[in-house]
């Protein structure tokens, strides 16, 4: 109630008038009432009423925070957080080594960044995740939908269809091996058409469209509450050309990162970004580093770098608050990313164990 008038979210002109008239705290405003206020500073009664409503809401919010109330605050004990984290699902990538170094898969409510040289598999992994997020819960998935924001134009529907077909087939094999009611029921709704219809695709051509889309994302996610994954494929591309003012770029990127963190937390979804690599010149040598500068490195919680070592693709976990830094080799097959040297042979049904058990640890349940 002792809140300073200057800190209230009113329009600047109104604020200036209130301060000039001598008002100092919010309490004074509320005591004066709309009629008195309108007479004293010379505004209409409706405007005064509007201003008082804003002030009242702000003070109510403050009171709730100081009294330790629920709702808009994000306060909880570490124990509650632990319980939440343990029940939270991961979005699996179908590459067991990658899931292992990530600690189970791509985490919800966190931002994961994938950097890599061109052609290394970033878009493939994003398409894979957009399909895997839809796996029903009885198969170990999160049963969510996906938003795919594409800035580079590298999303290929046919490839996504291939990956989706393989995923459906995999789940069908599990269901056949372990005849359970809920599996068969889930399979009825888990088909190629339903997977593709739940990938919401936005094609942003420049950074303004990207900014606009991210501003509109909270409303979209409130309407489609089942979305559990937001992929932005190519966050670097629109920001890398036509920017003479680098400080503007840093500011816009930071704002973007903040909004994505809020989206990830409020809607309990994972945010996956892909970044390019750029050449940085040292004394006599140049090396490849993730693009968008040093400060962007703080935006993501988890950072994966995909790179080449001659002919082998490698994935390195570069930054993570809970997992150790490590590198694994991987390959891209017709169907999905796969740990190197393990070829899946999808055999016919009639096996006591899941035929694809070599590819994912969660399958070993069956």
């Amino acid at each position: 109630m002792q809140r300073d008038v200057g800190s209230l979210p009113l329009s600047p002109a109104l604020r200036a008038r209130l301060l000039a008239a001598g008002f100092q705290t919010a309490q004074e405003l509320l005591e004066t009432g709309p009629c008195g206020l309108s007479k004293e500073i010379g505004i209409s009664r409706e405007e005064a009423l509007e201003a008082l409503q804003v002030v009242r809401q702000e003070c109510a919010g403050d009171a709730a925070k100081t009294a330790g109330g629920s709702g808009s605050t994000r306060k909880c004990t570490a124990l509650e957080l632990l319980e939440e984290e343990q029940t939270q699902g991961f979005i699996i990538t179908f590459c067991s080594a990658l899931d292992n170094i990530l600690g189970g898969g791509v985490q919800l409510t966190k931002i994961t960044e994938i950097c890599g040289a061109p052609g290394v598999g970033k878009t493939q992994l994003c398409m894979q995740l957009a399909v895997d997020v839809q796996i029903p819960e009885c198969f170990g998935g999160v049963a969510g939908e996906a938003v795919f924001i594409d800035t580079e134009g590298s999303f290929m529907v046919d490839r996504a269809a291939d990956i989706a077909t393989a995923c459906v087939r995999h789940c069908q094999l599990i269901a056949e091996a372990h005849q359970e009611e809920d599996h068969l029921q889930a399979l009825e709704t888990f088909s190629l058409e339903s997977i593709l219809s739940h990938i919401y695709y936005f094609r942003c051509r420049d950074y303004i469209e990207l900014l606009a889309q991210v501003y509109l994302l909270p409303d979209f996610l409130s309407e489609h509450s089942k979305v559990r994954l937001v992929v932005i494929d190519g966050i670097a591309f629109p920001f890398r050309h036509d920017f003479e003012d680098l400080s503007l770029r840093t500011r816009l990127l930071n704002g973007l990162a903040q909004q994505l963190i809020i989206i990830a937390n409020d809607h309990k979804s994972a945010v996956v970004l892909t970044n390019q690599m750029t050449t940085r010149f040292g004394q006599n040598q140049s090396m490849l580093v993730p693009a968008l500068g040093e400060s962007w490195g703080h935006a993501a919680t988890v950072r994966l770098i995909f790179h080449w070592d001659n002919t082998q693709r490698l994935a390195t976990l570069y930054k993570s608050p809970s997992q150790k830094e490590s590198t694994i080799p991987y390959n891209i097959t017709t169907f999905h990313l796969l740990k190197s040297f393990k070829i899946i042979k999808l055999r016919a049904s009639g096996l006591p164990r899941c035929a694809a058990s070599t590819c994912h640890p969660k399958c070993r349940r069956y």
């Binding site: 979210p9 009113l10 329009s11 600047p12 109104l14 509007e50 804003v54 040289a117 061109p118 052609g119 290394v120 957009a130 795919f148 580079e152 134009g153 590298s154 290929m156 529907v157 046919d158 490839r159 269809a161 997977i195 593709l196 219809s197 990938i199 919401y200 695709y201 936005f202 094609r203 942003c204 051509r205 420049d206 303004i208 469209e209 606009a212 501003y215 509109l216 979209f220 591309f237 890398r240 050309h241 036509d242 500011r251 816009l252 390019q276 750029t278 050449t279 010149f281 040598q285 140049s286 090396m287 490849l288 790179h307 080449w308 001659n310 002919t311 390959n331 891209i332 097959t333 017709t334």
Partner: protein, 395 residues
């Protein structure tokens, strides 16, 4: 669109006037400001400013489509998704051919067959849909003056003798290939900007730029300070304009690139200064020096350009007669190689000698090594003759 004026974003008239006093007239200006700045210029409260932001964002944001809708649209018109190259094994691996709606890059050492390939694709695009073409016109932007109309007619006549049986059909085909000779970066960029209108008026179905690298390397000397940034800027702008056009009209765009030498200790940039004449001699260092400075020949124009193109095909030398076409980067195809020769009818695949697909090989498309003619010639000569090393090109 970013340059949309605010009054078309359905903001009130007085608000637009007030904002224009602060030089904020387009959506871009509006969205680049922070919330506090917006409060100051609009004079509105926090909540109202957020509502305004949402209104302006709605005006700029792209439309949503589900992946299923995209697939259905593709399946209604399957032939419109790819342009078959008439090299059957290549088409099979690429799931149909050169993809429509994205950029395809063709890189090779000089004389390997880039322009031949481009000329063949021009012919194919003018063919009717029943023969695997796109039944449309072609825009050919030539920066090296390498296009030869006689070769065009020769390829057409030899590749499809039954179709081009009359002069009239040949003339009809040549009339639909629009050739532009652009010799500077600026004119190339201007031409790319004018593409949108030309595509609609002339019913264009294929765009070829041969080659991007030659104008860029001529004008931007990366030794000079700041030129590297300008070069990347030009390339990025060109790439995004071409991508917009390709996607909007769902047509394929083929670009050609040159080669450069990349020294494997990471010095890719100074090596770019090396003129094409030196490229050949430096490439031999790969066999000679071993550890310190093994150089390899790779695609030019740098790392960022490799990100911008969606598909990369590399043509390289194999031995005296045969060459190889390599799929180095593709969102739908694994890394594969095919052998071909250049003949009267254009490129012809050597089906018998095809290697089986090697899905595990291949490396960073930006650093994929390319074999140049010198090594191929050198090997061939050493094999066939007993001459002293003095007669072969000295390393």
């Amino acid at each position: 669109m970013a340059t949309k004026k605010l009054r078309r974003a359905k903001l009130s008239q007085e608000l637009c006037e007030r904002l224009s006093r602060y030089q904020i007239t387009t959506c871009q200006d509006f969205l680049c400001l922070s919330l506090l700045e917006l409060m100051k210029v609009t004079g509105e409260s926090y909540r109202n400013v957020q509502k305004l932001l949402r209104k302006v964002s709605l005006a700029c944001a792209p439309k949503m489509q589900t992946a299923y809708e995209m697939k259905v649209r593709r399946s209604i018109n399957p032939s419109a998704a790819f342009l078959p190259t008439s090299l059957h094994s290549l088409d099979k691996v690429l799931h149909g051919g050169i993809p429509c709606g994205s950029l395809t890059e063709l890189t090779s050492p000089p004389g390997c067959g880039k322009t031949q390939f481009c000329i063949t694709m021009s012919v194919l695009a003018t063919l009717p849909v029943s023969m695997g073409g796109l039944d449309g016109a072609v825009i050919y932007i030539d920066t090296e003056s390498a296009f030869s109309a006689e070769r065009l007619i020769e390829i057409a006549g030899n590749r499809f003798p039954t179709y081009f049986d009359s002069d009239e059909k040949l003339f009809c085909m040549t009339r639909s290939i629009h050739l532009y000779r652009e010799l500077t970066c600026d004119s190339v960029l201007k031409r790319i900007k004018s593409l949108e209108e030309e595509i609609i008026s002339k019913k264009i179905k294929l765009i070829i730029i041969d080659s991007v690298a030659s104008v860029v390397r001529k004008e931007f000397d990366t030794k000079l300070q700041g030129n590297l940034a300008e070069r990347s800027n030009f390339l990025a702008r060109g790439a995004s304009l071409l991508k917009y056009v390709a996607e909007e009209f769902s047509i394929p765009v083929i670009l050609t690139n040159q080669i450069t030498t990349s020294l494997s200790n990471g010095l890719a940039i100074p090596a770019d200064l090396v003129s094409p004449a030196h490229d050949l001699s430096l490439s031999e260092g790969a066999s000679g020096s071993g550890k310190k400075e093994s150089a390899c020949v790779t695609a030019a124009l740098g790392n960022t350009w490799s990100h911008s193109v969606n598909t990369r095909l590399i043509l390289q030398y194999h031995d005296l007669l045969t060459r190889q076409i390599v799929i180095a980067k593709s969102p739908v195809a694994p890394f594969s190689t095919f052998f071909y020769t250049v003949e009267k009818s254009g490129l012809v695949l050597q089906d018998g000698k095809n290697l089986s697909n090697l899905p595990w090989e291949g490396t960073n498309p930006a650093l994929q090594t390319i074999q140049v003619r010198n090594t191929a010639l050198g090997n061939a000569l050493l094999k066939t003759t007993d001459e002293t090393p003095g007669d072969t090109p000295s390393p």
